[in-house]
C-alpha cells in the first residue's frame, strides 16, 4: 500500500519546481535596458570591416593557402599575419587603456562569424590571439595585462606582429585540463617549480593554436602535479626565452593554415614579476584557490566559447552560401536546382541552422556583458568614458594607476568576488550551450551542402569540402562538445539539486 501512495505522490509532485530562473532566460531582454547603445554602431563598423577584409584579402587566398598547406605542411603564414596586423586586428578589441582600439568584445564574435564563413584557418590566426588576451584578463592582473598588451600595440605600429597564444592542452590531458574536477584525476605533466626570483617550467604543451607565429605564450602549469587544481599558475613565456622551444606542428585535416604547435619547456625561467596568477595572489579572494582557478578558467571559456560558436556559425554560413550558389547555377531536370521544392526545404533548414547558432552566441555575449567578463567594461558610464577619454589622459594619468597593486585588487574584488555563483553558472552554461550548438550546426550544414552538391562538392576548388574538413575541429577543441554538454548540465540544469554529481566515475 505504501508504494502505491508513493506512486500517487510521485505523480502529484510537480516538475514545475524546475522552472528556469528569469535571469537565465532573458539576457537579451535585460540588455535592452542596460547595454550601451554605442555598441550597435561599433558592431556595424566591425561587420563591414570584416566583409571588406574577406573580399580583399581572404577570398583571393583561401583555397591557395589550403592547397599550399597540403603540399608543404611546415609552411607558416607569416604574410597573412602581417596583413592582419596591418589592418589592426590584433589590437582592435584591446581596451584603449591598454593601447588598443577598444571595440566592444561581443562585436568580435560577429567578426569571427564573418571571417569564419570564408576561411576558418585564417580566421583562427586572428581569433586565437584573443583567446590568450582573454586568459590574461581572467586573471585581472591589470599591471601585467597592460605590459603585455603594450607590446601588441607596438607590434601593430612597427608592422612586426606580436601575437599571443594560450598554452593549456598537454599530451596526457585534453578534456582533463578544462575542468578542475577532472584535472586532479588526470595526467598533467607541465610543472612549474619555485626557484629564487621566479619559476622553472618543465614539460610540454601540444595543439597550441598559432603557437609557431606567436611571440608570447600564456602557459597554464602546476606546481604540484598530484594536486594541480590547487597549485595552478598562469605564466607568460616569450618566444626565444632560454629553455623554450617549438616542437612539431600538427598535420591536421583542416584549419591547416593555423598552426597547432608543440611547445617544449626545459628549465624555462619565468621571473616573479611576470606571474599573472598563482596561489599566493589568490589568497586575497573570497573563494578558495581551487574555486578561484575554476572561476578563472570559466571566465576564459565563457567568452572564448562564444567565439568558437561564432566560428561554427561561420562554417554553417559558408556551407549554406556555397550550396545556395551551386543551386542557383545548376540545372537539374530542366530547371534550376534552387527552384526544386526539396532543395528549397534543405536550404531553409540550413539558413535556420545559421540563425540559431548566431542567436546562441549573441545571447551568451549578452550574459557575459551583464554578469561575466565584460560586465565592468560594459557598464554604461565606464563604457562611454573609456570610449572618449583622450589618449593623453590614458598615457599620463591612467597608466600609472594601472601599475598600482590596488588596481588589480579592485578588479579582482569586482569581477572575482563580486560574481555570484548564479552568474558564474549562467555565463559558463550559456557559453557551453552556444559552443556545441554552433559547432554542431556548422558540421551539419557542411554535410547537407555536400549532399546537395554531389560531385561538385568533392572538389577542393569548389570550396565546400574544405569547410567540412575545417568545421570538424570546432566540435573538438575548446572542450569537446561532450564535455560542453556536461558542463551545461552542471551549470544550468543541476543547480539546486544536491543529489547530482557530474564527472563521477561510472
Amino acid at each position: 500500500m505504501k508504494k502505491g501512495k508513493e506512486m500517487v505522490a510521485h505523480a502529484q509532485r510537480s516538475p514545475f519546481d524546475h522552472a528556469p530562473c528569469f535571469e537565465d532566460m532573458t539576457s537579451s531582454l535585460q540588455s535592452t535596458a542596460r547595454q550601451p547603445k554605442g555598441m550597435l554602431k561599433e558592431t556595424r563598423e566591425v561587420v563591414a570591416l570584416a566583409r571588406k577584409f574577406k573580399e580583399e584579402v581572404m577570398r583571393p587566398i583561401t583555397l591557395s593557402m589550403d592547397r599550399q598547406m597540403q603540399k608543404d605542411p611546415e609552411y607558416l603564414p607569416w604574410e597573412f599575419v602581417r596583413k592582419a596586423n596591418e589592418w589592426g586586428f590584433y589590437t582592435l578589441w584591446v581596451p584603449r587603456i591598454f593601447g588598443g582600439k577598444g571595440y566592444n568584445s561581443p562585436s568580435m564574435s560577429y567578426f569571427l562569424e564573418e571571417l569564419g564563413s570564408e576561411c576558418l584557418g585564417l580566421s583562427n590566426l586572428i581569433g586565437v590571439h584573443y583567446l590568450a588576451v582573454v586568459t590574461m584578463f581572467a586573471t585581472f592582473n591589470i599591471r601585467l595585462i597592460n605590459k603585455l598588451l603594450r607590446e601588441v600595440e607596438d607590434g601593430q605600429k612597427t608592422g612586426i606582429p606580436c601575437l599571443l597564444s594560450l598554452a593549456i592542452t598537454e599530451p596526457g590531458a585534453g578534456t582533463d585540463v578544462e575542468e578542475v574536477e577532472l584535472v586532479d584525476k588526470g595526467n598533467v605533466g607541465c610543472q612549474a617549480t619555485k626557484v629564487e626570483g621566479g619559476y622553472l617550467i618543465n614539460g610540454s604543451k601540444i595543439f597550441i593554436s598559432s603557437g609557431h607565429v606567436s611571440r608570447w605564450h600564456i602557459v597554464i602549469c602546476y606546481e604540484d602535479l598530484k594536486n594541480p587544481s590547487d597549485t595552478m599558475l598562469v605564466l607568460p613565456v616569450k618566444t626565444g626565452s632560454k629553455g623554450f622551444s617549438f616542437g612539431r606542428k600538427e598535420h591536421k585535416m583542416g584549419v591547416k593554415i593555423c598552426p597547432a604547435s608543440e611547445l617544449n619547456f626545459e628549465d624555462c625561467f619565468v621571473p616573479d614579476d611576470l606571474v599573472l596568477m598563482n596561489k599566493e595572489q589568490n589568497q586575497k579572494n573570497r573563494r578558495n584557490n581551487k574555486q578561484t582557478n575554476s572561476q578563472m578558467i570559466d571566465y576564459v571559456v565563457s567568452t572564448s566559447r562564444a567565439g568558437v560558436s561564432a566560428w561554427g556559425t561561420g562554417a554553417a554560413r559558408g556551407a549554406f552560401e556555397n550550396a545556395l550558389d551551386f543551386a542557383i547555377n545548376t540545372e537539374v531536370n530542366g530547371k534550376r536546382l534552387v527552384n526544386h521544392e526539396w532543395a528549397q526545404a534543405m536550404l531553409a533548414e540550413m539558413y535556420k541552422n545559421v540563425a540559431i547558432s548566431r542567436l546562441s552566441y549573441v545571447e551568451t555575449n549578452y550574459a557575459n556583458g551583464l554578469c561575466g567578463l565584460y560586465k565592468t567594461i560594459q557598464f554604461k558610464p565606464l563604457f562611454y568614458y573609456f570610449k572618449i577619454v583622450p589618449k593623453i589622459v590614458i598615457d599620463y594619468i591612467i597608466r600609472p594607476i594601472i601599475n598600482l597593486p590596488v588596481t588589480t585588487w579592485v578588479f579582482r574584488k569586482i569581477q572575482l568576488d563580486g560574481q555570484t555563483d548564479a552568474q558564474f553558472h549562467r555565463t559558463s552554461g550559456w557559453a557551453s550551450l552556444a559552443k556545441f550548438t554552433g559547432t554542431d550546426a556548422g558540421v551539419k550544414n557542411c554535410q547537407m551542402a555536400l549532399e546537395i552538391m554531389g560531385q561538385a562538392g568533392l572538389r577542393q576548388d569548389r570550396r565546400a569540402e574544405k569547410i567540412l574538413r575545417d568545421s570538424k575541429l570546432l566540435q573538438i577543441y575548446e572542450g569537446t562538445n561532450q564535455l560542453n554538454r556536461i558542463n551545461l548540465f552542471k551549470c544550468l540544469a543541476a543547480q539546486g539539486h544536491s543529489q547530482v554529481r557530474v564527472f563521477e566515475h561510472e
Binding site: 508504494k3 502505491g4 506512486m7 521544392e341 526539396w342 528549397q344
Partner: protein, 419 residues
C-alpha cells in the same frame, strides 16, 4: 492461386524482399482466394524443426494479413477507445482460435513449434492494422519464452491446456527490465512455499489474463526471481487500466499484492538471466511490430498524397512531399532486410545472434518513431485526428520503443556486452 494484394512477403535467405508496388499493376483475373488456415501451417510445421520454410512463412503472413484486414481494420478507432470504449473481445478470441498465440510453443503443448521468423511475420502483418493485438501477442509470447528459458515446462503445459483465451493468457510487465529500474515485488519463503507482497507497476494484460509472471526479490538477496501467480487470488488488487500513450487495447494495470501465493519459475535468483535470454530472442519480434506500424503509416500517407490536392495539384507532386515519402520508403526497405537477417540469425543460432536481435530492435524502433511523425505530417491537419490511422500509429510506435526496457540503457548494455 492468390489474388493480387498489396501484401508484404517476408522471404528467407537469398530470396528477394518485395515491397508495396509503387506502380499500379494491371489487375490479374480475379479468383476466389482460398482462405489460409493457420492450422495448415501447423501441420506443415509438425514435419520440420523450428526452422520455418518459405512456404510456411508465406502462408502465415497471408493468414495474419487477412485476419488483420478483416478483424482489426474496420473498427480500429473504436477499439482504440478502450478503456473508454469496449474491448475487442471477438478479435482476441478469433486470434486465439487460429492459434496466433501458439506460434512459439512446442508441439506437445499444441504449439506450432516455430521460431522468431514466424512470430515476426505474424506481428508485422497484425501491426500494420492494429498494434494493440500485436502487443497482446508479444506479451504472451514473451511470457511463454520466459517460462521456457526457466525450464518451467509443467506449469506452462498446464496453462496452455486452458480452453478460453483469458485463462490461457499470461500477463507480464513487458515494458520494464527489472535490472534497470527495479520494479519488484517482495517474496517471502516459508518452507517450500512462496508468497508475494508489495506493488508492481504496469502489469501488461493484468486485467485480462488468468495468471501473471511477477519479478520479485527474496529478502536479503540482491538478485530477483520470477514467480507465477493466479490473478484471481484474493490478495491481488488491480487498478483501473492505466491510461497510456499507445496500444490502448493492450492494457496494463498496477497491482497491489498482499501475501499472494506464488510458484517459483526456474531457480531462485536467476530472474535476470531468464529475462536476458528471453529478450535476446524477443527483441527481433519487437522490431517487427515497429516495422508493421511503419508500413501501415507509409501506406496511408502514400495513398493520401496521391489524392489530396493543394496548390492546384495532388500533393505528391510537390518534390518535398516526395522527399519525405522516399525517406519513409527507404527506412522500410532497410528494416525489412534487417529483420529478415536477424530472424534467421536468431532461429539458426548464428554467431552473435543475440546482438543481431537487439541491434535490429534499437534501430528499427527509432526509425519507426521518425517515420510515423512524418506519417502524420503528410496528412496535414487530418493526420492529427482520430478518424485517421496516423495519429494512433505515431503513438504506438513510441510506445513500442519502450518494450523490454529503457532505450538508452539498452544501448549502453549493448556496448557493455562487447567490453
Amino acid at each position: 492461386m492468390l489474388s493480387e494484394k498489396e501484401t508484404t512477403i517476408i522471404a528467407l535467405e537469398e530470396d528477394v524482399v518485395e515491397f508495396t508496388e509503387t506502380k499500379p499493376t494491371p489487375p490479374a483475373p480475379k479468383k476466389e482466394a482460398k482462405s489460409v488456415d493457420v492450422k495448415d501451417v501447423k501441420i506443415a510445421a509438425k514435419k520440420t524443426a523450428p526452422r520455418t520454410s518459405k512456404k510456411e512463412l508465406t502462408m502465415l503472413a497471408k493468414a495474419a494479413s487477412e485476419f488483420a484486414k478483416k478483424m482489426l481494420a474496420p473498427n480500429r478507432e473504436e477499439n482504440d477507445k478502450y478503456p473508454f470504449g469496449p474491448f475487442f473481445e471477438d478479435a482476441l478470441e478469433k486470434a486465439f482460435g487460429v492459434d496466433f498465440f501458439h506460434i512459439i510453443l512446442p508441439e506437445d503443448m499444441n504449439g506450432m513449434n516455430q521460431g522468431m521468423s514466424a512470430l515476426s511475420v505474424t506481428l508485422d502483418n497484425i501491426c500494420q492494422e492494429d498494434s494493440s493485438l500485436g502487443g497482446i501477442l508479444f506479451t504472451n509470447a514473451a511470457a511463454q519464452e520466459l517460462m521456457i528459458q526457466a525450464g518451467s515446462k509443467a506449469e506452462l503445459e498446464r496453462i496452455c491446456s486452458k480452453e478460453t483465451v483469458r485463462d490461457f493468457l499470461i500477463a507480464l510487465p513487458v515494458f520494464n527490465n527489472p535490472s534497470e529500474v527495479k520494479h519488484l515485488a517482495q517474496a517471502k519463503k516459508t518452507g517450500d512455499a512462496y508468497t508475494l507482497s508489495g506493488s508492481l507497476e504496469y502489469m501488461v494484460l493484468g486485467d485480462l489474463a488468468g495468471q501473471a509472471i511477477i519479478p520479485a526479490s527474496i529478502a536479503g538477496s540482491t538478485r530477483y526471481s520470477y514467480f507465477l501467480v493466479d490473478l484471481k487470488d484474493k490478495g491481488i488488487s488491480k487498478s483501473e487500466p492505466i491510461l497510456s500513450l499507445g496500444l490502448h487495447a493492450c492494457p496494463a494495470v498496477d497491482l497491489e499484492l498482499n501475501h499472494v501465493k506464488a510458484t517459483l519459475i526456474g531457480q531462485e535468483g536467476k530472474g535476470s538471466d531468464y529475462f536476458e535470454k528471453m529478450a535476446d530472442r524477443l527483441h527481433v519480434a519487437a522490431a517487427s511490430m515497429a516495422l508493421g506500424v511503419m508500413k501501415g503509416s507509409f501506406k496511408e500517407a502514400f495513398d493520401y498524397a496521391k489524392k489530396r490536392e493543394q496548390g492546384g495539384h495532388e500533393i505528391i507532386n510537390w518534390s518535398e512531399v516526395k522527399m519525405i515519402l522516399s525517406n519513409m520508403a527507404i527506412k522500410i526497405s532497410n528494416a525489412e532486410m534487417i529483420i529478415e537477417k536477424a530472424c534467421k540469425a536468431v532461429d539458426t543460432l548464428e554467431a552473435k545472434w543475440e546482438t543481431r536481435s537487439r541491434a535490429a530492435a534499437l534501430h528499427i524502433q527509432d526509425m519507426a518513431c521518425d517515420l510515423t511523425t512524418d506519417g502524420i505530417q503528410l496528412l496535414g491537419g487530418v493526420g492529427y485526428m482520430k478518424d485517421f490511422g496516423q495519429e494512433k500509429r505515431f503513438r504506438d510506435a513510441k510506445h513500442i520503443q519502450a518494450l523490454l526496457g529503457i532505450t538508452p540503457i539498452k544501448k549502453i548494455t549493448f556496448i557493455e556486452n562487447m567490453i
